[in-house]
């Protein structure tokens, strides 16, 4: 039982990182109605900029964090311009394919920058794990969790308390209506992208600081962890993204502990497949099927 609770604690901590990635996907999907496969790779590129500073100049972790976020935001803006702004609406699939092409580009850019397979990434803190009764808390995990909670609060405030957040929500709700209200839709999309990339940059830094190493594969990893967490919870819902991230974290840690490393990802994918088949809208998504919705539209 102690093991189980300990695993749950670890899972929630790791899951908070996934939740941040999922929030990024959810916001982009809400605003643009398109999938950005390049989300993970742009974070990875930011992390590589940070690593470059760390490897070349032994930069401090805080500098690396800032470089990661700035790099991720710049890469994200580039992705937005090329894959989403330049390709007109209605061509959602073209945007997805384009974001995949840019992914390949970003990955090679990272390899050109740092040609080895693996690079060290600076840890945020070097303190020993905190002990609470029979349980251990890794300080990196705790930092990740606290930062994630703060970021979620910030995102929530931005979305529900500011004018910009209002326009983001308006665009997600109904693009045409938002445009009629005088909202500059293109600008909203651009800045939503920047915001999301910044969140991703922070999440990427925290995850990598825990792992203490970075490879170009991080792009693939982050994209699919974020997508999975989002789909588990339900697309386009902020609480869903958080719940999905936490569930993914807990399931991974539990299956790693009880079944072994080979089963860690396997059980996560199995759970995802099961959730999608049984409850196609995700756990917190609305269960209204596409056909019914199409019918309503026609009526």
């Amino acid at each position: 039982m102690t093991d189980f609770i300990q695993n749950c604690i670890d899972g929630v901590m790791i899951g908070s990182g996934y939740a941040l990635l999922a929030i990024g996907f959810t916001i982009i999907f809400g605003v643009l109605r398109r999938v950005n496969l390049s989300y993970g790779p742009s974070i990875m590129l930011g992390a590589f900029v940070g690593t470059l500073l760390y490897v070349q100049f032994q930069a401090h972790a805080v500098v690396v964090a800032m470089a990661t976020v700035v790099g991720a935001v710049l890469a994200g803006m580039y992705v937005e311009r090329v894959c989403f702004w330049a390709i007109r609406r209605g061509a959602a699939v073209a945007s997805m394919v384009s974001s995949f092409a840019i992914w390949m580009q970003l990955e090679e850019l990272a390899i050109v920058m740092l040609p080895e397979r693996t690079y060290p990434f600076p840890p945020l803190t070097e303190t020993a794990p905190i002990e609470i009764g029979p349980f251990f808390l890794r300080s990196e995990h705790l930092t990740m969790f606290v930062v994630a909670v703060v970021l979620v609060a910030v995102v929530h405030t931005v979305l529900y308390r500011t004018r910009f957040g209002l326009s983001v929500r308006a665009v997600s709700e109904n693009l045409l209506a938002a445009r009629f209200m005088g909202i500059n839709v293109d600008a909203v999309m651009f800045w939503a992208f920047a915001l999301v990339s910044a969140i991703g940059g922070v999440a990427g830094f925290l995850i990598l600081a825990t792992d203490q190493q970075v490879t170009p594969y991080f792009g693939l990893w982050a994209t699919f962890k974020g997508l999975i967490a989002m789909m588990l919870g339900g697309m386009g819902s902020l609480p869903g993204a958080i719940l999905g991230g936490l569930i993914l974290g807990i399931v991974e840690v539990q299956s790693l502990w009880y079944l072994g490393n080979d089963y860690k990802d396997l059980s996560a994918y199995f759970l995802l497949f099961l959730v999608l088949i049984i409850r196609p809208g995700g756990i917190l998504g609305h269960a209204l099927s596409e056909r019914e919705r199409a019918a309503f539209r026609r009526v």
Binding site: V93, I102, M104
Partner: protein, 302 residues
């Protein structure tokens, strides 16, 4: 032709099957991230059939492709309710499950004092049927392309048939298809099964070409590439995905000179292409235009 060119061309041929498989589902309006699963299932099974059970290549290929079709049919039934991104992610989850299952899949028999068979993450070595039967790489390439041409011909026949129209109709609007009195469920499952079969043919060829399989070969990257080929080449004709494959593998080999930067160049080119041709190079409109021009030219000559 030297062996290098032959191996590149064989690769293009084998991946074309996977691209055609993803293309068929794209016609019915579904974006699948998971066609590599059926490629993998068939690769492993046909490899097991020839290397471990001593079957000839043809029956091994057929067994692999049929198993892939069966798996695809089951997945088709399970994912019937899913649309759009949900479908894509469900197929992705399935494909990753298959890949990870092959990581823990051990099944070996001892042949000539050597253990043969899939050994989890260590991979599946010595699928040597092609080598043992003295088939040269060039001959093997010819076999691959013969089958590819047959499949392509069937695709062209499909596009002219009622079934082809139904598939395209499904892609346009499921509800309207249903209102034509067509059994949407049956046609969706059928499309999924056929797509699985086509991917399976490619997988079987791949196993005997590579002689060595490991689960990592069938990662999501393979599936996303296969999907993207059709979307770059265009959804107007079955030649579209082949153009995509040729562009990717052929073009990348051709610009080896700028090694290290070629994905930057290629990725940028694809992104620019998609800005001007969001539905791919040979999209429906362009194909229609070609047909009209051809007819006008033919009539004028008469």
């Amino acid at each position: 032709m030297d062996d290098y060119v032959v191996s590149i061309l064989s690769n293009i041929g084998m991946i074309s099957f996977l691209a055609l498989s993803a293309y068929l589902l794209l016609l019915t309006g579904e974006i699948s991230f998971g066609q590599q699963a059926f490629f993998a299932i068939s690769a492993y099974l046909s490899g097991i059939a020839t290397a471990m059970w001593g079957w000839p290549l043809w029956s091994g290929l057929l067994l692999g492709a049929l198993a892939a079709a069966a798996a695809a049919t089951v997945i088709g039934v399970l994912t019937l309710r899913l649309r759009g991104l949900y479908f894509s992610i469900a197929t992705l989850a399935f494909a990753e499950m298959v890949r990870l299952l092959f990581v823990i899949f051990h099944y070996q028999v001892v042949i000539d004092g050597e253990p043969v068979g899939p050994d989890g993450a260590e991979g599946f070595r010595d699928i040597r049927w092609v080598f043992e039967n003295n088939i040269s790489v060039t001959e093997y390439m010819v076999i691959i392309y013969t089958v590819l041409v047959i499949v392509l011909t069937l695709f062209f026949l499909l596009e002219r048939s009622r079934l082809g129209s139904i598939f395209r109709m499904l892609g346009e609007d499921t509800l309207l298809t249903e209102m034509q009195g067509l059994n949407v469920i049956r046609f969706k499952v059928l499309a999924s099964g056929i797509a699985g079969f086509i991917a399976g043919i490619g997988g079987g060829f791949y196993a005997h070409f590579a002689t060595y399989l490991e689960p990592q070969n069938f990662s999501v990257m393979l599936g996303v590439h296969a999907l993207v080929y059709g979307l770059i080449g265009g959804l107007g004709t079955a030649l579209g995905p082949l153009i995509g494959v040729g562009l990717d593998i052929g073009f990348l080999e051709a610009i080896r000179a700028i090694q290290g930067y070629r994905m930057i160049v290629f990725g940028g080119l694809v992104a620019v292409l998609l800005i001007f041709m969001p539905r791919g190079i040979l999209d429906e409109e362009r194909i229609h235009w070609f047909r009209l021009t051809w007819r006008r030219w033919r009539d004028a000559k008469r």
